[in-house]
Amino acid sequence: MIAVEGVVKRFGAQAVLNGVSLTVAPGEVVTILGSSGSGKSTLIRCINGLERLDGGRITVDGLDVANPRQLAQARRLSATVFQLFNLYPHMTVLRNVTLAPEVVLKRPGAEVEAEARALLASVGLADRADAYPAQLSGGQRQRVGICRALAMNPRYLLLDEVTSALDPEMTAEVLAILGRLVSAGTTMVFVTHEVEFARRISTRIVFLDHGRLIVDLPTDQFFADAGGMAHPRIKQFLSKMTPVGGQS
């Protein structure tokens, strides 16, 4: 379980996260919605230890991410897919996928490579294994990003606006893959603007506004008039979201 307890994160004087608490249990798909600057991405970056907390506590299966040694363990349990892919440009697609399983998990190279090739094939990139990231389209790069994360066999998949940098066609391509992962029972923390897609795949939806968690509700309740929609801020947010992509 990922447990976020009263997390505070400041950049200078500004509190980007201001006392956020939530839990993600195995098997759940928790979507985090909110406008830009609401702290969604920062929350993901706190869970994977890329930001230092200014208050509160985050544990991944009991491992405290503020403790360097426990963080190293926690990072083996979760894997992140980034908005701007963050692939390693000097490595082939295959090496991007196999690097962490080999050097962090110390798994045998041949086994990791076979798995990586299977993963790449499952997202339609079997023939691009030896290409470099710069030779791929955005959608292909993000599919590599997803394979890189899945190659770690993570208990938790952290998705940080993974389709925000993609055009609608590429977005559809990536969401289709995520949809399959959900069906396979992958636990996800999903930061996104794809409201319609989130509605279909999420078990719960969390809404952040100016660093505060406003609601944390099961998906059907979130979209119910008496649930999330009863909050003026959420109603306003949803009314302004034009569904993009999501037709997987």
């Binding site: 994977n48 894997a79 390693y88 690097l99």
Partner: protein, 223 residues
């Protein structure tokens, strides 16, 4: 009467001088490269006091004339430790330290040029600092630093000629000896200059070929 004509032995004197220059350059450049790059990697992780100490110390080395550094080491250190240094040891120490200073600033810049987002990805995937350096930072920083390093190498090769002043019989000193005997400065210094040029040109060609290979897939910003 003394013989002022060129003899076959002069070729040997020049070749020996060239050998000393090359050996001195290769050894001090290798040591300087290793030390400078190591210091730059340490600096990259911003240790509080050590980082400032490295910046200041190496800046001093970079921004003072090599000849002054050479005199400081050859004359100054023996006075301090009451132990003479041989010209070759003094030359080796000075050139290694001086090269390290220039390498340091080049490699610091190379490391800074590696996209921050890839580094974050590697960290989020659990790579340790050593693994991060080895797999992500070093290969790309090497590609970015290669051009300036080739330029530095050519420069440091020429700087080795300064050691002739403290009595190391390098290519320049060999030229000097030859010149004193033959009294044909134009011919002698042209020959010496051409020899330096030939080595420098070789270095540049080799370096650029290597650089092209390293840079094939490195990108300063991430993908």
């Amino acid at each position: 009467m003394r013989n002022t004509g060129f003899t076959a032995h002069d070729g040997i004197v020049l070749a020996q001088g060239l050998g000393v220059s090359l050996a001195l350059f290769l050894a001090t450049f290798a040591i300087g490269l290793a030390l400078g790059a190591l210091a730059a990697v340490v600096r990259h992780f911003r240790p509080p006091v050590l980082g400032v100490a490295l910046d200041t110390g190496l800046e001093l080395l970079r921004n003072s004339p090599v000849l002054v550094q050479l005199f400081l080491v050859f004359f100054g250190i023996p006075a301090l430790i009451h132990q003479p240094l041989t010209p070759l040891v003094a030359a080796g120490l000075t050139l290694s330290a001086n090269t390290a200073a220039f390498v340091y600033f080049i490699v610091v810049a190379g490391l800074d040029a590696v996209g921050r987002e890839q580094v974050e990805a590697a960290r989020a995937f659990g790579l340790s600092r050593a693994q991060l350096v080895r797999h992500i930072l070093a290969p790309q920083a090497a590609a970015f630093a290669m051009g300036p390093l080739v330029g530095l190498a050519v420069n440091q090769l020429q700087v080795t000629s300064l050691v002739s002043v403290i009595g190391v019989v390098d290519l320049t000193k060999a030229g000097d000896i030859l010149n004193l005997r033959t009294l044909r400065p134009f011919a002698v210094w042209t020959m010496v200059g051409v020899l330096y040029f030939a080595v420098a040109k070789g270095l540049t060609l080799l370096g650029h070929r290597w650089e092209r290979r390293l840079r094939a897939h490195a990108a300063p910003s991430g993908l």
